[in-house]
């Protein structure tokens, strides 16, 4: 009699084996699964792919179905979901797309996927009260250098390559794929959720350097020094501009009173 644990393992093998037989290489020893097993195989795989389509909408729009579905299918087979919260499924998808990009996919796909991923995480993050410039202004100037500011749980950031990624993402997310992609200096992509809506912003790189240091637990003074050290030689460091971009967009937590 099949032991309990081997039944479950064999069942998964049978539905995964159907995947393999249906489209790609055939492994020696696998028996073709009956149609009923195919129902389980299809249902699970389709749910994973549809979750990726919903969670990475700009990528799905940018690539279109004939390109997106094979990429999503390959990812779902290689990295199946690990839990039932499918609205969070897709860790590793941007990197996976980057590994495929030169082979068959359009440029910019992995970059778009990163923005989608940050939005996905921001959407589900814990609620918080954002720190405002007004609140910060109530603090004594002497207290500011030693102030330890926390990054809001919904805040995510990434350096953008040398083109207008935020503009591209906004267009692709809205379903507009026939756009001119403009080269520009590298900037920062900042994703925040000060209330219920997730926002994607283009911010100065210094804002991201500031965030890196604050997230590492540095005081505001030390974080400003770090951000200043990252500036290009000869470029003045503008702390107010760097911090304003974070405060205006609700990227930081209101400290307890």
């Amino acid at each position: 009699m099949t032991s309990p644990s081997s039944f479950y393992t064999q069942f998964l093998t049978s539905i995964d084996g159907w995947h393999l037989l249906a489209g790609t290489d055939v492994e020696v020893g696998l028996v073709p699964a009956p149609a009923a097993t195919a129902v389980y195989a299809n249902t699970g795989l389709r749910a994973a792919i549809e979750s990726l389509e919903a969670n990475f909408l700009s990528v799905a729009n940018w690539l279109g179905g004939p390109w997106f579905w094979p990429a999503a299918t390959a990812f779902a087979r290689a990295h199946p979901p690990q839990e039932g919260r499918l609205f969070l499924y897709g860790d590793g998808f941007p990197e996976f797309l980057a590994s495929l990009e030169h082979a068959q996919l359009a440029r910019y796909t992995s970059d778009l996927a990163w923005v989608d991923w940050m939005c996905m995480r921001a959407h589900a993050a814990g609620d918080h009260l954002p720190l405002t410039a007004t609140r910060l202004a109530t603090l004594s100037p002497d207290a500011l250098p030693g102030l330890r500011l926390q990054v809001a749980p919904a805040t995510h950031w990434k350096i953008s390559p040398a083109y207008a990624l935020v503009e591209l993402w906004r267009s692709a997310h809205a379903g507009r794929t026939e756009i001119e992609i403009k080269p520009q200096e590298a900037t920062g992509v900042l994703v925040t959720r000060p209330e219920d809506s997730v926002w994607v912003h283009e911010v100065p790189l210094t804002s991201l350097h500031l965030l890196d240091a604050l997230a590492a637990g540095q005081s505001l003074g030390d974080a400003a020094a770090h951000a200043s050290s990252q500036e290009a030689p000869g470029r003045p460091f503008d702390l107010q501009a760097a911090l304003s971009a974070l405060l205006e967009n609700g990227a930081l937590l209101m400290p307890p009173s």
Binding site: A36, Y40, P80, P81, R85, A125
Partner: protein, 277 residues
């Protein structure tokens, strides 16, 4: 006789659902879709629950799995329950998790004595952690497995007896299983403990693209079939009113279509009237 008639809730129906007024209306969701740490998802469900009774229908508890339940998942479920205060909690006699792998489906297992003890222990744990009585649902079957030591009704009855959980009878799953594995619905219903039935589900099914009517799929993407509606009406005639849900999870139409389906189900059971939970 009065009962309630609910609909699957989808986010695109939020505004219409908030404004809806109908006797006996309630909504059901998969809690997994709302288990975020914060943000609009749980807030939306909380707002809906202030206007209408909401039930949680879990799809990833993996009660029939070989491993201990996912404690983090249970904790998140309890947090959602505390926030939303659902009127009912349900899950399936199925598994979906093995190790680090989750399969977004409801997978079958041989109904052995060992499985019975595991399911009982899992349900005891769910009821203890959530503070709610769980309604256990019969899944759709596509495979005739070997190694069953119990019929499905006998297995479910024993689980009810040992855990004090209730039963959720999915009439569409009965019909689908009757076609796919020749599990006669009439025999099943004759054996099941009808006193334990706390909820009934209805849904649409589709035919396999290759095998047609010989392999039905519990697709939840179309109206309830006439055969399932007839089975439901006969069950209602026998057991009296029970809260009933019309499931629709695929190719989800406008809420107006779901309203029509609700009216259709009401017409199939004219002896019932619908009131609030």
């Amino acid at each position: 006789m009065q009962t309630t008639l609910g609909l699957s809730f989808k986010p695109q129906h939020f505004q219409q659902a908030m404004q809806a007024q109908a006797e006996g209306l309630w909504f059901e969701v998969h809690p997994e879709n709302y288990m975020a740490d914060g943000g609009p998802r749980p807030r939306m469900l909380e707002a809906l629950a202030e206007h209408h009774p909401v039930a949680l229908h879990g799809v990833s508890l993996s009660l029939a799995g070989p491993e201990p339940l996912d404690l983090q998942h249970l904790r998140r479920l309890r947090q959602l329950i505390d926030r939303v205060k659902p009127v009912r909690l349900s899950a399936h006699l199925a598994w979906s998790r093995l190790g680090a792998r989750y399969v977004p489906d409801l997978l079958p297992a041989p109904r052995t004595r060992a499985l019975l003890e595991r399911v009982i222990a899992h349900i005891d744990q769910v009821q203890q952690v959530t503070g709610m009585r769980l309604a256990l649902e019969n899944p759709s079957h596509y495979l005739s497995l070997e190694g069953h030591e119990f019929s499905e009704p006998h297995f479910l009855n024993e689980v009810v007896r040992r855990t004090a959980c209730s039963l959720l009878v999915d009439v569409n799953n009965l019909h689908v299983s009757a076609v796919n594995i020749h599990q006669r619905a009439s025999d099943w219903l004759a054996e099941i403990d009808i006193e334990a039935i706390s909820e009934i589900h209805l849904a649409g099914h589709s035919e396999d693209p290759e095998l047609g009517p010989h392999l039905l799929i519990d697709s939840h993407d179309r109206p309830v079939s006439e055969e399932v509606l007839a089975l439901y009406a006969a069950l209602c005639q026998r057991i009296g009113p029970r809260p009933t849900l019309i499931e629709w999870d695929g190719a989800v139409p406008d809420l107006s279509v779901l309203w029509q389906e609700r009216a259709r189900v009401q017409a199939a059971t004219p002896a019932w009237s619908f009131a609030h939970d």
